[in-house]
């Protein structure tokens, strides 16, 4: 496929729509067979942090990502019963092609409403995308969450 600002943006916006709507199986379908979904904890940046020695909020390989998605489809995932109602804005998108991958960096602001409480979440998302046919697949996604060192009660929706 041709990597242009339009194709990169429309992919990230499509992903944001799936996340807001909690279409978790469709979202799982965006991921490559070998992948890494990482949300560092304790205000760590992605550089110089070793997930083998540091606890993460999320550090999923493909198998754990599938566990996460399956759980969210369960009627017994109480912390998402009812679901979070969400709307996020993705912007400040930068991207570059590196060998066979496209690396993107974007900001998000997410309003999340659940059981009468509204939270505002924000952060930076870093995607490593693999162009495949007429679409991208996600090889890795790292989310640097502004609130990563705060006391958080429920982060069971998807970033």
């Amino acid at each position: 496929m041709i990597v242009t600002r339009e194709t990169v943006e429309s992919f990230l916006f499509h992903e944001a729509d799936l996340l807001d709507a909690m279409q978790v199986e469709d979202w799982l379908g965006l991921w490559a067979p070998e992948c890494c979904y990482w949300v560092p904890c304790n205000d760590r940046d992605a550089n110089g942090t070793d997930p083998g020695r540091q606890v993460s909020i999320i550090y999923d390989d493909r198998a754990r990502l599938e566990d996460r998605v399956h759980r969210l489809m369960s009627s017994a995932a109480h912390s998402q019963r009812p679901r979070s109602r969400m709307r996020r804005v993705v912007g400040n998108i930068r991207f570059e092609s590196r060998e066979d991958e496209v690396h993107t960096r974007s900001n998000f602001v997410l309003a999340e409403l659940r059981r009468g409480r509204q939270e505002v979440w924000s952060g930076v998302s870093q995607h490593r995308l693999l162009p495949a046919g007429d679409r991208f697949t996600i090889k890795a996604k790292t989310v640097l969450l502004t609130q990563s060192d705060m006391a958080i009660d429920n982060l069971t929706f998807l970033l």
Partner: protein, 430 residues
């Protein structure tokens, strides 16, 4: 409408097989918990291994009182009241860091990280009777430790830490001795979670997983490996599992998974062997502790699943500290311990097992928090205020050493914690 009760008659509120819900909802009782438990009893402040270097500190609270735990330049870990001796400002305003000195930025009094007042601006303004030596940071009235776990009490007198811990001490040893060196590093960061519910909901409950954590048990069945299921045998929460609840006295309780885990040991050892250099870890444990104790410690998987009343729990890989903020608001800190002297693969496996269940995005903790919030909401309906805690009373065993045991789903643990609560709340403050 509330059933009449007296907030001073705690033995009426906590009975043999039932408890009055006011102890979870009444702000006046919460105030007395602050005074009688959190500002008096032994609390765990943290672990010395959080502070590997001189000057490392963590600021926290004991009940409502701000303190700072710091490793001084002399290597000693001390707990000080986080309060300037001049006008009472906090002298440490960040949660963690490294400092040779704590400076009060109000008027510039400076304390060394071992406590003494180092300097005051304009000393000529003080007379001859001004003695800097009397004005160091105030230490907590009592401090003691066991295997690096630092405990403090804001009461000048009371039982010793060893008396307080009693038989619970050996479970702290089990946590530490998952390392062939008997040492951990507490440098992996912290999961901070919070829920709008009473602090006592963080119990030790082997009865709830089949419902609260059904999604997790389903996931274990779907993919029986690569997660915490590796450390258990079948359904660890079935009454037939052989696993036990224990009430150790003084409010200390545990879910004893050793029976099931011993039956599962060969499978768990296979899991360890699949990690790079995993065999080295097994061999180091057997070399250090001998065949019998080594195998027992491996079976424990470093998870004593013990609650040390009132604010420490050792669950999975984590040192968990419970911080009550209000009668209906609680923060829970989870510090994963890294085993010293083991291949890196073992620690990364343990971190991934932890994250799969615990923390704000895990498959377990947020569902616990959700249920605790529903619990707090339900308790507002107090026309009938009594909660039932009788499961297993018909088969609970009183052991020769005074501890009590029940089956894994029995409410022996809840009753034990409430007995500890009742004792602390009923003793007249010194």
């Amino acid at each position: 409408m509330n059933a009449p009760y007296s907030v001073s008659d705690y033995s009426h509120l906590v009975q043999r097989d039932r408890v009055h819900s006011a102890i979870y909802t009444d702000p006046a009782i919460f105030e007395q918990e602050m005074a009688r438990i959190f500002h008096r009893a032994w609390l765990c402040v943290g672990h010395e291994a959080e502070l590997p270097n001189p000057g490392d500190f963590r600021a926290t609270t004991l009940g409502r009182q701000p303190v700072v735990m710091v490793r001084g330049d002399d290597g000693q870990v001390r707990v000080f009241m986080n309060r300037c001796r001049h006008r009472g400002m906090t002298v440490c305003e960040t949660e963690t860091g490294n400092a040779r000195f704590f400076t009060c930025w109000y008027h510039g009094w400076v304390y060394s990280n071992t406590g003494p007042l180092q300097d005051v601006p304009g000393p000529a303004g003080y007379g001859a009777d001004f003695c800097k030596d009397d004005l160091g940071l105030t230490p907590v009235p009592r401090q003691a430790s066991h295997r690096g776990f630092v405990f403090a009490s804001l009461a000048p007198d009371g039982p010793s830490l060893a008396e307080h811990l009693g038989p619970a001490a050996r479970y702290l040893d089990i946590y530490m001795d998952a390392s062939p060196l008997g040492q951990i590093a507490v440098t992996a960061g912290v999961h901070r979670t919070r829920y709008r519910g009473n602090w006592k909901f963080v119990g030790m409950d082997g009865y709830h997983p089949h419902y609260t954590h059904r999604s997790v048990l389903d996931a274990w069945r779907r993919r029986p490996g690569g997660n915490m299921a590796d450390t258990h045998h079948g359904d660890p929460f079935a009454d037939e599992s052989g696993n036990l609840t224990r009430d150790l006295g003084n409010g200390h309780v545990l879910l004893d998974f050793l029976p099931g885990r011993s039956a599962n040991l060969d499978r768990y050892l296979d899991t360890l062997r699949r990690q790079p250099q995993g065999e080295q870890y097994i061999q180091a444990m057997l070399d250090t502790y001998g065949e019998a104790r080594g195998r027992e410690l491996l079976a424990w998987a470093g998870d004593p699943h013990v609650g040390v009343y009132p604010n420490l729990q050792l669950i999975g890989v984590q040192i968990r500290l419970v911080r009550p903020l209000a009668v209906d608001d609680t923060e829970v800190l989870m510090f994963p311990g890294l085993l010293q002297g083991v291949p890196d693969s073992i620690n990364s496996m343990r971190l991934r097992q932890h994250e799969s269940f615990y923390g704000p995005a895990g498959a377990g903790s947020p569902d616990d928090a959700e249920l605790f919030e529903r619990n707090q909401e339900g308790l507002k309906a107090d026309v009938e205020p009594w909660l039932h805690l009788g499961r297993g009373l018909n088969r609970e065993r009183l052991e020769a050493d005074g501890t009590r045991t029940g089956l894994i789903g029995d409410e022996t643990t809840q009753r034990g914690q409430l007995r500890g609560w009742l004792r602390l709340m009923s003793e007249t403050p010194a």
